[in-house]
């Protein structure tokens, strides 16, 4: 049984008041310390002040109905369902009595909201449990007072308080108004994991009905009377800026109200201010279609102010960086060079991956209403605080005069950590002096940057005459950031080890993309280990387990960013579930395991070849994400990660010529489609009592390695360079 404090330095995390219309309102800090997963080092550290900010509410009505006001915007990770489940678990109410509501816009209740990617659940776990447990405790104390008996003589479950010895029972609803007068306990008891009823079950998405009936949920759907629409045009290439454009002609076009150039440069930009172009043409009007026509009629003069890069240049730069580049981070155990000299076999391979775009299906958009002394913003962002800050800087307004409200988000994958589209909307609104909704076309969205960097890594392994791995080195470069995690596996499992993370320059802007760096490194490393295992004549799972065994019993070096037991655990689970080692006719298998965002995932791919084309028949996933909160939704996230991993490894890329991407829309930029998805995905969880960890990212990285390894078994060809379809040797 765990006890948890409801205060810190005598300041309470919880505020209780009477609810309008009867009952009890518990306010608490929903996401204390729950910051988005900051991709840039040094950006956004949790500030204790915010732990006390009330941004989540539980209303227990006189009828016993519980309304949980979730400040979370939904980005597709189902947090709007799973987080209230945690509150309801500790409060101990039946889910049928729970209603989840979004913060009503503009109430001032929700000044600070966060969509924290894979960190959401992990960081708010305790806050949510504490709030629920406090509510339960206060209701029980109210009942104890009413009946004149000690609270220890009571128990509460399923929204009902009852006497342990005796007949009396009372519903939460009857106690709700009375509990308002009870002092907030300084400490509350949390349930034991074994006693969970809701957590670990499968609860359907609370917004399902709205989604299937097409309700306006997304930023792009937001409308306010009197609002204008706006579109932007950015320079056609990285390395170019805008000089001027045919303003008079554009302004005279049907439906166009105004056209001008905006400058969104701000002083001291932060990590989330990353963007391709600061000066843009903005066109304002009343209908999207007319604005699209006006965009087509634009004749602009662009100025070349930087290098116009091509994919050839990018490859050369990465190769040069690997040879002589600046090392950002490194690790060295033992003496790999000497070990390679002694090795009986050496395997050395180079892997690469291109720039890719996030391509959230809902393009970037934002509503802004800027007046002389305030700015109101509404739209799909994961980082409202960063947006507030940037808008305040741009408009030279005090921070408290800028408010940001969030809508449902039509896909994130890291893209909506960056705030430029909100800032642009604010700049346009200021210029026209009225409310406006900025809409990106798909082309604007795909060509303006914040891409996943392009990467290139060289892996080298040495085996001794007994086929033991005695040396392992990795050197990885990226434009601009290298993909290597020096302290992750196999660090700790190999006597002689080195890892170097190398950076190189580009003027193409990049950002965090689902499972940053892991999205490349997992595929490269896991495909490489498959080759090394083969060279050693060992089964790929046994080979990895041997390494984990070493890391468990006698770890090499100091720091290891993984727990070898849990890593081995998911491999063992997937091995058992997939019946690994039992051959099936016309089924070719590959395996991979990876750890990121505090979660361990191992995957086995079953592949067949039909009409010369590889078909992923089945994917088996074993996941250790600690306690599983919402089981089926958790499976959905892993399935999505697997499909996303296959899609990007197989098909997706951005290639450059003269600073411009060849791909501008889904005709040339290939995303995975129905027929290319696995026929079946089965997800298994390791059952334990560890606090829950991320699910949004970790399913993706191992899929790339397992796919590459299964393809090898099916075709005899190894795949080193993403996207795999462009590699000639691929069948079909």
């Amino acid at each position: 049984m765990t006890r948890i404090k409801t205060q810190y330095n005598r300041r309470s995390f919880i505020k209780v008041s009477a609810a309008a219309g009867g009952g009890m309102l518990i306010g608490f800090s929903w996401l204390n310390a729950c910051k988005p997963n900051t991709p840039e080092p040094g950006a956004g550290v949790a500030v204790p002040k915010e732990w006390f900010e009330i941004n989540g509410y539980i209303k227990i009505g006189d009828t016993g109905m519980v309304t949980i006001y979730s400040p979370n915007p939904e980005i597709g990770q189902n947090v709007r369902t799973s987080m209230p489940m945690i509150v309801a678990e500790e409060l101990d109410v039946p889910w049928e009595n729970v209603v989840v509501e979004q913060a009503p816009l503009n109430t001032g209740w929700y000044q600070n909201q966060f969509a924290g990617g894979s960190l959401s659940i992990r960081l708010s776990w305790n806050a949510l449990r504490m709030a629920g447990a406090t509510g339960k405790r206060m209701l029980m104390e109210a009942a104890a007072k009413e009946w004149g008996i000690p609270v220890s003589h009571l128990s509460a479950s399923n929204g009902i308080i009852k006497e342990n010895i005796g007949e009396r029972t009372v519903g939460y609803g009857d106690m709700a108004s009375k509990a308002v007068g009870i002092e907030v306990p300084k400490e509350v008891e949390l349930k034991g994991v074994k006693d969970f009823k809701l957590i670990g079950s499968s609860i359907k998405n609370v917004d399902g009905k709205k989604i299937v009936t097409g309700k306006p949920l997304f930023g792009l759907d937001f409308h306010r009377d009197g609002m204008q629409l706006a579109m932007i045009q950015h320079p056609p290439a990285f390395g170019m800026t805008i000089k001027d454009f045919n303003e008079a002609e554009i302004k005279s076009m049907p439906g166009v109200k105004d056209a001008f150039i905006i400058d969104t440069s701000i002083e001291e930009p932060g990590g989330f201010d990353e963007k391709g172009f600061k000066q843009l043409i903005a066109i304002v009007g009343d209908s999207t279609w007319q604005l699209m026509q006006a965009k087509k009629a634009l004749k602009a003069n662009w100025e070349t102010t930087g290098e116009l890069e091509s994919s050839d240049i990018h490859v050369k730069r990465l190769e040069k960086a690997l040879a002589t580049g600046e090392v950002q981070e490194s690790r060295m155990d033992g003496n790999p060079e000497a070990a390679f000299k002694k090795a009986a076999k050496i395997v050395e391979r180079t892997y690469s991956a291109p720039f890719i775009a996030h391509n959230t299906l809902e393009p970037m958009n934002f509503f802004a209403n800027v007046t002389a002394d305030s700015a109101e913003l509404i739209g799909p962002t994961q980082t409202p605080e960063a947006l507030e800050g940037s808008v305040a800087k741009l408009l030279k307004l005090p921070l408290e005069n800028v408010t940001v409200n969030m809508t449902r988000i039509g896909g994130g994958f890291g893209r909506r950590l960056y705030v430029h589209f909100g800032v642009e909307a604010a700049a346009i609104s200021k210029k026209i002096g009225g409310p406006v909704k900025l809409i990106y076309t798909r082309e604007d969205d795909m060509t303006q940057g914040t891409y996943r960097p392009t990467y290139r890594s060289i892996y080298k392994a040495g085996l001794d005459e007994n086929n033991n791995l005695i040396a392992f080195t990795v050197k990885g470069a990226g434009l601009p950031e290298g993909p290597v995690f020096p302290n992750r596996f196999p660090a700790g499992a190999v006597e002689n080890y080195s890892a170097e993370k190398i950076k190189a320059d580009t003027n193409v802007t990049t950002g965090a993309w689902r499972a940053p760096r892991s999205n490349f490194t997992a595929g490269a490393e896991q495909a490489f280990l498959d080759e090394v295992a083969e060279a050693a004549g060992k089964d790929p799972i046994d080979f990895r387990l041997e390494l984990f065994d070493r890391a468990i019993k006698d770890p090499v070096g100091e720091k290891h960013e993984y727990e070898a037991e849990r890593y081995a655990g998911v491999l063992k689970l997937v091995k058992e579930k997939a019946n690994w080692g039992v051959a099936k006719p016309n089924v070719h298998r590959g395996v991979a395991a990876y750890f990121c965002h505090s979660t361990y995932v191992a995957e086995v791919f079953d592949l067949s070849i039909k009409n010369g084309k590889p078909i992923v028949e089945k994917v088996w996933c074993a996941v250790d994400c600690g306690i599983v909160v919402n089981r089926d939704a958790a499976k959905n996230m892993i399935e999505g990660g697997v499909i996303d991993g296959i899609g990007h490894a197989m098909y997706s890329q951005l290639t450059f010529d003269n600073g411009t991407t060849h791909q501008m829309n889904f005709d040339k930029y290939q995303l995975i489609r129905h027929s290319q998805a696995p026929k079946e995905i089965e997800v298994f969880f390791v059952e334990n009592e560890i606090d829950p960890t991320g699910l949004g990212e970790p399913g993706l990285p191992p899929a790339i390695g397992a796919l590459a390894n299964a393809l090898y078994k099916a075709t005899g060809q190894r795949h080193y360079h993403q996207p795999f379809v462009t590699e000639k040797q691929l069948v079909g």
Partner: protein, 187 residues
């Protein structure tokens, strides 16, 4: 049926009276052809004055505020904008209003009275969605498809749904939901 109403409409337009756009060139008398259309959408007749080339996607979203139909690519590649024209699933980003004529249009908002079409129910049953943005288009495509092919094979489902991108990767659930709906035998 073509009227030169644009200027008059402009002058009556609420935004016009505001002084938000003093520097703009709104008073220029351009003569873009507008036309008046009478459409049957979700069982209701709607009158719209608009450039005849305007795709139905934007007629629905901007003019009628039916925003369940989504914009994803604008070039017929993603399926987010799928609606029914008569019994056929079409990409509304490629369908000019002038091509609609007498045919009934159904959007996600009009697929059923209470969100209880068997396909919608199957989607709820399988808890398909992640971000949810693609799902209106997926559902509209799936309903039109199942009407023509009530007992599809897996390959037929994949073939019919291949034009609908789900960036979140819910494909396996979509397929399952389509099979669930097909098995409910009341599509």
């Amino acid at each position: 049926m073509f009227f030169n109403l644009f200027l008059i409409k402009k002058l009556l337009h609420p935004y016009y009276s505001s002084n938000n756009f003093v520097n703009s060139t709104l008073s220029l008398p351009y003569t873009k052809i507008m036309a008046n259309f009478k459409l049957k959408i979700n069982g209701k007749t709607q009158q719209i004055d608009v450039d005849p080339n305007t795709p139905m996607l934007w007629v629905l979203r901007d003019h009628l505020k039916l925003v369940g139909t989504k914009y994803g690519c604008g070039i017929s590649q993603c399926g987010a904008c799928t609606i029914h024209l008569g019994d056929n699933a079409v990409r509304s980003c490629q369908l000019p209003i002038s091509a609609v004529g007498e045919q009934n249009i159904t959007t996600i908002e009009g697929l059923s009275e209470n969100g209880d079409h068997p396909v919608q129910k199957a989607w709820l049953e399988e808890d398909v969605y992640q971000c949810g943005y693609c799902q209106a288009g997926q559902i509209m495509n799936a309903t039109a498809f199942l009407k023509k092919n009530p007992n599809p094979t897996d390959e037929e489902i994949e073939g019919a749904m291949n034009g609908n991108i789900c960036r979140c990767g819910t494909y396996t659930r979509i397929k399952k939901a389509i099979k669930t709906a097909a098995n409910s035998q009341i599509v």
